[in-house]
Subunit: 457 residues, 2 copies
Amino acid sequence: MSTVEQALKYFYENKKQLTESYFDLVRIPSVSTDPNHRGDMIKAAEFLSETLKGIGFERVEIHPTDMHPILFAEKISNNPNAKTLLIYGHYDVQPADPLDEWKSDPFQPEFRDDYLYARGASDMKGQVMASIIALESVLKTGDLPINIKYLLEGEEEIGSPSLDGFIISHTDLLSCDMILNPDAGMVGKDQPTLVYGLRGMTYFEVRVDGPKTDLHSGLWGGNVANPANVLSQIIAKLHNPDGTVAIPGFYDRIPPMSQEDKIRISMNQLSEESIMEMTGAPAVYGEAGFTPLERQGVRPTLDVNGLYSGFIGEGAKTIIPAYAKAKISCRLVPNQDPMEIFNLAKDYILSIAPDTVRIKVFLHSAGPAYLADDAPGAQNLVDAMQEVWQTPVTYKREGGSIPVATVMLRELGVKSLLTGFGLPDDGIHAPNERMHFPTWLKGIETLIRFYLSFGGE
Amino acid sequence: MSTVEQALKYFYENKKQLTESYFDLVRIPSVSTDPNHRGDMIKAAEFLSETLKGIGFERVEIHPTDMHPILFAEKISNNPNAKTLLIYGHYDVQPADPLDEWKSDPFQPEFRDDYLYARGASDMKGQVMASIIALESVLKTGDLPINIKYLLEGEEEIGSPSLDGFIISHTDLLSCDMILNPDAGMVGKDQPTLVYGLRGMTYFEVRVDGPKTDLHSGLWGGNVANPANVLSQIIAKLHNPDGTVAIPGFYDRIPPMSQEDKIRISMNQLSEESIMEMTGAPAVYGEAGFTPLERQGVRPTLDVNGLYSGFIGEGAKTIIPAYAKAKISCRLVPNQDPMEIFNLAKDYILSIAPDTVRIKVFLHSAGPAYLADDAPGAQNLVDAMQEVWQTPVTYKREGGSIPVATVMLRELGVKSLLTGFGLPDDGIHAPNERMHFPTWLKGIETLIRFYLSFGGE
């Protein structure tokens, strides 16, 4: 069995050469959205395939999809009691545009101060390579105490159209005891982070139909209900004056915040000033009685995502629109049932709608919130991070969702370890994306310790 | 001086040939919106020019514009005290599409029962030719007691882009004592109609800006005000629960309905059933305490004409939109000042807007309501119609506006006689447009009587 000390020694002795493989991967412009880079997508998948074979993976498969291939790899441990860790990652990147805002070539990694600048340096080639380099360091110095599977897709930046289907049809291949998803990042460079909660969602659409066609507002104005006005009145009634959602029953299943949640959340900072600076909104606005981070992670919301009615071009057109529609989504928290919330919303909207129009409320999608501080391996990961950083781990509840984690929980029955070593100011999806190199090195150390933490079993 | 009897005799003796010139005009497919019919536009203008010259107009001018020519013609009376009547009309028509819904060629007039079917038969080649044929009947049988000017445009169906400029720069040429605009129509075939009121308008736009860009609704939902929700709340507050407009001062300058107004309006019928049938709206909705026709003609309104925010394509996108906007118009009634109403609306909206967003309210257009039962010549026209139909004239207040009447009042200082001999079921702008021929004949009789009614002066 490899020891942590041996593996770390190997890593630091071979750091330059190992880091070179990270550079080689970011040099491949694997922009998934751009058909001109189709060949680069295959190149990136093949590079990773060769890299994994090179460190001892016996089984490496490139599965074609309608778009970009999915790479599956497996390394079986000699340990007969070995648990299996599935590592999720993606090898595609965002486009580099606008190119003229980059200070160096996005696909030629360049060091400036403590940072490595390149498209994908943080999101997430740096994360994938950290996991592989940590693995190599262990494998070159002894036995790996766990089985490792890799699932690497090339379509994350375009919404992962092939991934769900692949997971659903390959549940045996992907079966595992733990899942590591290092695409979630840290809240700050001195705050190793475990994302343990994701909000769920109910997404629906409200359509208000009035006259059979757009009407002349002079001729008919005053005698028929205007669908745009009616829709506005309905939307206005979805919130109370204090900012809470007015749908009866919306909050009923949400337990009071636990003391642990409060403590974990208060470990982070999200000032009103920084919200205003980051969003450009002239003020912070939200549910009274909660901090910004509580509102972001622990409280549900309701937002209009889109609104349309009538004439929206330049100039003026005097019509009573035939219909109006709104796309509305609720971010949900644990214990809220997405379908129940949809039905509550629908019932409430129908109950407040006047009979001067016809109303339809229909569902787009529904997914539950996700709470994963009990994800298998969480304590091992937390211990490893604390060992490296010598500071308590930050437990974070995200406001958004990570669909792959939800799908994997449903299909494989395993909650994901949502972490990573990217920082909020890495500029992912933006020009001059970068990776904080000292943090990346700590990440590799962390993963070496994490992989080897299962040695005693 | 021609007498009514002589002129009518001439008309009925030459009806077939006179009607033929009406057919000739509708045979020219002068579709103003279609560049392929540019030549037909000129053909129609030249046809009318020749026709007017043929009946004795000394001065006939075709004025080119950026699009389709404006025809001006003048016939001076021998009567030294003659008043001048300006007749407005348009020689362009709507496109005939969808062609396969026509039962006969839209540009080959065909009689079926009492109706003449053709594009433009009612709107408004039939009206223009009625005015010319009545004039010919007078001119062929004696002297015309008034001066006549024609202003015929070819862009009415595309919004009259050249007309305002032409009127503004030709006020001397167009100077007159009375204006006849026979583009307004009748409320029913046994109800000769004078439109004596038009509503005015204030059209403005409300824009709500929040974050500097669309935000991820998971990350930021709960902490910033959503511009689409805020806009909906603002719009909802523009009306009271009883359907009245909630802008303070909105109704302040409107006097109570006069007894005369009430009587005139109650002469017409507009049942709730017919509103529902014509509009397809599931219910009639409007200000309590007023009949549908009162709401249409005498009461002001506020309607959202267009609404936009965020993502309105197919599917779902989970964003907090950066901004939301609404186009809003108020139909106004006499005594309401359009700019004052804009300022009242703006002040109110700014007063109810939260400081969590940035609000802009800006004006698109403003025009006053128009009350013209005192238009010069109104009594002569009313008498002529009553003589022909042997029934009291219907006084109608329209819900819409007729921009040319507003411009002419402003530039020429003369209110228009808004009338015409088209019927509500003529199908203007639709397939199988038609003219009720017996009504058209009565219209010519009416205009003969009207022209000759100024003989005593």
